[in-house]
């Protein structure tokens, strides 16, 4: 298997799905001539032409709405939002249109649309450019929320997302595009809604996704030095949400900590805690704790920003409270 970056893995997925299905096309700001602001669509305009790799004006509501309409008419658009921060500009199209048309039209409409959006903090981009909005989208029924952490998943999940007849918010992390990993060539599908145990452990379960998977693995290493074996579960998405894998792990470790990059309050961690409490109350030896971003708009200053984003030390500290 070849070692490639998440960026290349995503590019492969797009290329392969466009070759496989003529109904698949890309659109977004600078996805064509510029090959994407993160270069994920490199080479695709040259290969597939302007009709299938559509550069758009800076108009996120228009982009998502156009993609939604094209999907209603039978195409399989993959819309790239330059970053997830701008998904908020298109929130009405996503929440009130993309997510609900199938249902409100009695199942007669289908929106096989994938919306790709890079996000996350860590690059000193400040209060308007550092969001991770998994929790917001996961709250809206009708939307799938898929979040890859490694190259193989980036490829396998994106291919599944594009083939899904449901609208999918595919949330990439700006800090992971350069991360390398082994990725199967050609047909490689990772089903949506299946979590993965990244590291086995018996003492505590760390439930996480996206870049925080790496933070948790680092924390697990640190804990291991003191003989604490943490099991790291990569949810790989929030809708569908694979509680089975989480429950199996927690029933074994009897302790859990959720780790998310976004604002802790009213984030997705609370949902996991609530489900764990309801479904595994008697299996828990300690409260399920959460680690999350500071509840502040992201500051520009490097030290302040680092303090706002969860790191391994923070995770270790939380684990030590319950182990």
């Amino acid at each position: 298997m070849a070692e490639i970056t998440c960026r290349e893995a995503l590019n492969q997925a797009l290329r392969e799905e466009m070759e496989r299905d003529p109904a698949v096309f890309l659109l977004g700001e600078d996805v064509g001539l510029y090959e994407g602001s993160f270069k994920v669509s490199r080479g695709l305009l040259a290969k597939f032409g302007e009709k299938r790799v559509l550069d758009t004006p800076i108009a996120e509501a228009g982009i998502v709405g156009l993609a939604c309409g094209a999907a209603l008419a039978g195409l399989r658009p993959v819309a790239e939002l330059m970053t997830v921060n701008f998904a908020v500009v298109a929130m009405d199209q996503i929440m009130n249109h993309v997510a609900v048309v199938r249902y409100m039209f009695g199942g007669q409409a289908s929106v096989p649309l994938t919306i790709r959006a890079p996000g996350g903090g860590g690059h000193q981009l400040g209060a308007q450019h550092s969001h991770s909005l998994e929790a917001l989208f996961a709250h809206c029924p009708g939307l799938r929320v898929v979040v890859p952490s490694v190259p193989a998943d980036a490829k396998g999940l994106l291919k599944s997302a594009i083939r899904s007849d449901d609208p999918v918010l595919f949330l990439e992390h700006e800090g992971l595009y350069g991360v390398k990993g082994e990725v199967p060539e050609g047909e490689h599908l990772v089903p949506l809604g299946v979590a993965e145990v990244k590291r086995p452990g018996r003492d505590v379960t760390l439930v996480t996704l996206s870049r925080m998977v790496y933070v948790c693995l680092e924390a697990a290493e640190l804990l291991a030095r003191d003989g604490i074996e943490a099991e790291v579960v990569d949810l790989r998405g929030l809708n569908p949400l694979d509680m089975a894998t989480v429950l199996t792990s927690v029933r074994k470790t009897r302790r859990a900590v959720t780790v998310e990059e976004s604002w802790l309050s009213f984030g997705w961690g609370g949902e996991l805690v609530a489900r764990l409490m309801e479904e595994a109350f008697d299996d828990l030896d300690a409260p399920v704790l959460r680690v999350g971003g500071a509840d502040v708009p992201m500051p520009y200053n490097k030290q302040l920003e680092q303090a706002a984003i969860p790191d391994a030390a923070r995770v270790v500290a939380r684990v030590r409270e319950i182990v």
Partner: protein, 335 residues
Amino acid sequence: MKTTQERTLLEGRELLTMYRDMVRIREFEEACPKLYSEGKVGGFLHLYSGQEAVGVGVAHALHHEDYLVSAYREHGLIIARGADPGRVMAELFGKATGVSKGKGGSMHMFDPDLRFMGGYGIVGGHLPLAVGIGYAIFYRGSDEVVVCMFGDGATNQGVFHEAMNMAALYRVPVVFVCENNGYGIGTSVVRASSVEQLYKKSCAYETPGSKVDGMDVLAVYDAVRQAVQRAREGGGPSYIEAITYRFRGHSISDPGTYRSEQEKKIWHERDPIPNFAEFLVAAGHAVRSQIEAIDGEEKAGIEAAIRFAEGSPDPAPEELWNDVYAPVQEGGAHG
């Protein structure tokens, strides 16, 4: 090639169908308030009475394969497109036999066979969708057209701007039809739009804009037919402002006190239905008795539609959970 006489007959027939469609819509809409007050119909209820000439003019300018997308004031549009009033009424009743299985209601009707791509409730929200459908047509290289209907108020929304720009930029076959009925709920056009003549807004997109009398079904038909043809031939989008009036309040709950009796009276004199009947008779396309026959048939048709709706079943309780997601596909969980 047909003889003049045949053609007149054909036109005559089509003209009568136009009249019939307008009467059907009016009968349908005017039956609603009572049903609403009886609690048989719920939710919001935005009636089309007064605007029939726009919807019918548009519908007759389209081919069967063409698409129509609309805002929430769409009963008349889906009927003009050929929907069975029974299924439309059943939707208002929230019944399983409704055009949206009772899940959409007055604002959210849909019929893929008629290529009626939906009624939407977020003002302006469906405009980019229309552009997307147009893009799909362009993508496939087929020669269909999309007509997108919206109100005067929608022209002040940001998505109007984005949709108009993208439609022109990609030269997609979309005809934007603004139904200017003078008001967005209680706010008159001049109090919401810096430009009073709404058709002028297309100047910012180098898209042809024109204004048409929305109380004259033939005027609407001609304007839309030309725009549709232009789009079909690859000429790109156009924008038509149809000047019309809603005879009732914004929705069933709106007394409409912000409009003077005088103003309403003037517009009622311009009622598209009786005026078109007069024209048909005067021009010899029909005789009075035909008109009366149509009026009677359509009245009866709506009564039948109501009976159908009343006799239809509610959706099964488990329908609450259906249609949120696509049925699980082969190969892979939710894949």
